[in-house]
């Protein structure tokens, strides 16, 4: 392999679980070859003023392929991920066909390999067709490398079905991830059920609809001993229940999205469907509780719930437009702008913890050290930039941050030793 060019990331601050220090990092082939002072290489990436860490891992990405390629493809979504510093994403299974079978799961993985911009890890459905009734064969999909199962977009409503799912998941040693929403309480719901919703005259989305399922699932985890990951928690009550469940020692993890840490329900006074999302944007008190949960470790991971939607679908009346917003390319900046977190905490929330939860920790979310896989991200917390929907790589433009100034930026991303983002630009 004498033809292989070495890459040196020069002058950045290495962020590792046990230490944060300045060093150059050299990559040869797909591995880290050296970490030290004044390293030389064929290609030099400027890392001054930046951190270098394991690449980010998104537990919650909607890539829309197969089925809604108008909104996003695995390639365009992978490019958005790379630009956001992600070297791995978990592809949500609410595709068409749904990811409840070997063929679809293989297709998603192979499209990811073809795009070659980050690792695309398909998740599987909890129930066939995400219909909430018949259980998917977890062991069968686990053989394909699937470790995370969810019916995201909807929660598993029936208690007994969920209990049986947890028992099967424990036997197959996979993790179930729940979208907590009691659907009978959110019929036609448009936004958080509070003062703003009442004044705007739209159907409300009560916090209780989420909290009822969080509580139920905590009880089911206690009863079955199975692992459970809570997707996109949005209410203060949910955070408190998860905090107590973890204190009890239950095998529970939880994520929060950048938008639930940064955006208020009041944005819906514009009636702009760009701000419609499931679960909905909530109140200042909820944001404060989510942030407290992030700081005290109740929340394990930041996950984007990147949900592209074609422009015309977001031009419908608010009550008819689909919920969801983009997240991959703005996640680091939004989290960094919304919260005062040190670099170590950011990497813990965006790389180390999600890699472990997704079972990707053999290749992602590892220390920056000799011999480790070169899935790396070079980023800073200082650059201020204005988000522009036109500037995004995603096929859809439904970012809620258009026109806003944010702080913190991804400069370079290396996936499997290859430069996929250089100076903030995708290389392929």
């Amino acid at each position: 392999m004498s033809a292989t060019k070495s890459i040196v990331i020069r002058g950045a601050t290495v962020v590792n679980p046990d230490a944060v220090f300045e060093a150059d990092v050299r990559v040869v082939d797909a591995l880290i070859d050296a970490v030290g002072d004044a390293l030389e290489g064929d290609i030099v990436l400027d890392g001054r003023g930046c951190y270098v860490s394991s690449g980010f891992v998104d537990l919650h990405t909607h890539l829309r392929e197969p089925g809604k390629e108008e909104a996003e493809t695995i390639e365009s979504g992978s490019r958005a991920a790379a630009l956001g510093g992600y070297t791995a994403v978990v592809a949500m299974p609410n595709t068409d066909p749904a990811q409840d079978n070997v063929a679809t799961v293989r297709f998603v993985r192979e499209q990811g390999i073809k795009a070659n911009l980050c690792e695309v890890m398909p998740s599987g459905c909890i129930t066939v067709g995400r219909l909430g009734a018949e259980l998917v064969s977890y062991a069968g999909l686990a053989d394909e490398g699937v470790t995370l199962f969810t019916d995201d977009g909807t929660g598993v409503q029936d208690e007994d079905t969920m209990k049986r799912a947890l028992v099967s998941a424990r036997l197959a040693n996979v993790t179930l991830a729940q979208h907590c929403e009691v659907s009978s309480m959110t019929n036609g719901a448009v936004m958080h059920d509070g003062a703003c919703c009442s004044s705007l005259g739209v159907p409300g989305w009560p916090s209780l609809a989420e909290e009822q399922m969080v509580q139920r699932d905590i009880n089911l985890v206690r009863a079955t001993g199975a692992k459970m990951h809570f997707l996109h928690l949005s209410t203060q009550g949910s955070v408190q229940m998860v905090r107590e469940a973890k204190a009890e020692g239950l095998p529970i993890t939880a994520e929060v999205t950048p938008h639930h840490l940064s955006l208020l329900d009041e944005l819906l006074t514009s009636f702009d469907p760009i701000f419609k999302v499931n679960p909905p944007l909530r109140t200042a008190a909820d944001i404060a509780a989510l942030k407290a949960g992030v700081l005290d470790g109740t929340i394990d991971a930041i996950a984007t719930d990147h949900a592209p939607h074609a422009g015309h679908t977001k031009e419908q009346p608010l009550d008819q437009a689909p919920p969801g917003m983009l997240g991959l390319e703005t996640a680091l900046a939004v989290v960094n702008t919304s919260m005062d977190l040190d670099a170590r905490k950011i990497v813990e929330l965006m790389s180390w913890n999600p890699a472990r939860i997704a079972g990707l920790d053999a290749r992602h979310g590892r220390a920056v050290a000799v011999g480790e896989p070169a899935n790396l991200c070079v980023w800073n917390t200082a650059d201020v930039w204005e988000v522009s929907r036109e500037g995004l790589a995603s096929k859809s433009k439904n970012t809620p941050y258009h026109g806003m100034n944010v702080r913190g930026r991804v400069r370079h991303t290396l996936f499997s030793g290859q430069i996929v983002v250089n100076e903030g630009k995708a290389t392929r």
């Binding site: 448009v190 059920d193 509070g194 003062a195 919703c197 009442s198 004044s199 705007l200 005259g201 739209v202 409300g204 009560p206 514009s270 009636f271 702009d272 015309h312 031009e315 419908q316 009346p317 608010l318 009550d319 008819q320």
Partner: protein, 316 residues
């Protein structure tokens, strides 16, 4: 004023001015030939995605009395049935040379959304449970003109009775009445109140009997039978026991008190008395005032460069 989307967009001064302009319009409406050339050459599209009789006819009559051209669009007979999007519908009509859209839609917020796809003025003629600003204006006009105080309704007690939660009329009226100084009491079962009335500046009562004897205005809302069917509410019998206006209750209204209703009336549901038998009823006056107020709104939006005195004086 570029659009009229919500009562919240208007200051009290602007509302008072619009009501004074409505006085001019009422004078025109009293003439033998109630028509002036004020909006000649202007085209107003009446775009109703949801059925309505009185509001559509009221706006169209108002437009015609100001000599505007009226283009009528109704969703049930249009390309919306062929799947045309809201945006395409509005852009298409705009391309035909529309100066103002009068929009009714079952979804809250649609009039506001439409403003991004057209340069024309947009008037909200009722959107979902959100707002019905010209209804609030014609109601404020009716109340202030009846009580002879043009500036405000300060200190008056107004009870709004019925399905507050699903009512755009309630949301608009609460805003205008409270800002004009009235004490507003919402009279409704809990299931028909919004989950929060924080910032509404109102009090509540749980039966019509608690308020009927001492209100200056009794404002009855239409009870939609569909809501009853959703079973999330109380039974029709329970509802009428506590919230319907019966003959006995109407007799307890103070002599000066006004009875109002936005229509259409549900006889035998919320109205168990013939309104024509109630001396304080102003329900038909509301309808007549609606034309004057909507003329004032359309003129303010489209005739801004012309002084009212110059245009409103002559015959068409």
């Amino acid at each position: 004023m570029n659009h009229l989307l919500s009562t919240h967009d208007l200051s009290i001064d602007e509302i008072v001015q619009l009501l004074e302009l409505a006085d001019h319009m009422a004078e025109i409406n009293s003439r033998a030939v109630p028509k002036v050339p004020a909006l000649r050459g202007k085209t107003i599209a009446s775009v109703f995605f949801e059925d309505s009789t009185r509001t559509r006819l009221s706006f169209e009559t108002a437009a015609k009395r100001l000599s505007a051209e009226v283009m009528t669009f109704s969703a049930s007979t249009s390309s919306v049935n062929k799947g045309e999007s809201l945006r395409d519908t509005i852009e298409t009509l705009t391309a035909m040379g529309v100066h103002a859209f009068v929009v009714r839609h079952k979804s809250s917020g649609v009039p506001k959304q439409i403003t991004q796809w057209t340069n024309a003025a947009v008037v909200n003629a009722g959107d979902g449970w959100h707002q019905h600003p010209t209804q609030a204006m014609l109601d404020a006009y009716t109340i202030t003109r009846n009580f002879g105080d043009k500036e405000s309704m300060a200190g008056r007690t107004i009870a709004i009775v019925g399905d507050i939660k699903h009512s755009r009329v309630a949301r608009s009226n609460v805003d205008v009445f409270t800002r004009m100084g009235a004490n507003v009491v919402l009279v409704a079962p809990d299931a028909l109140l919004p989950s929060s009335i924080e910032g509404w500046n109102v009090s509540t009562a749980s039966s019509i009997d608690e308020v009927v004897g001492h209100v200056d205005v009794l404002y009855m809302l239409r009870m939609q039978r569909e809501r009853m069917d959703e079973s999330l509410v109380i039974s029709l019998k329970e509802y009428t026991d506590l919230y319907a206006l019966t003959e006995e209750r109407a007799a307890r209204l103070a002599p000066h008190a006004l009875l109002m209703h936005p229509g259409p009336i549900n006889r035998g549901v919320e109205m168990q008395v013939d309104p024509s038998e109630v001396p304080g009823s102003r329900i038909l006056q509301q309808v007549a005032n609606g034309i004057s107020v909507r003329m004032a709104v359309l003129f303010s939006l489209l005739g801004g460069e012309i002084s009212p005195a110059a245009t409103l004086g002559g015959d068409a």
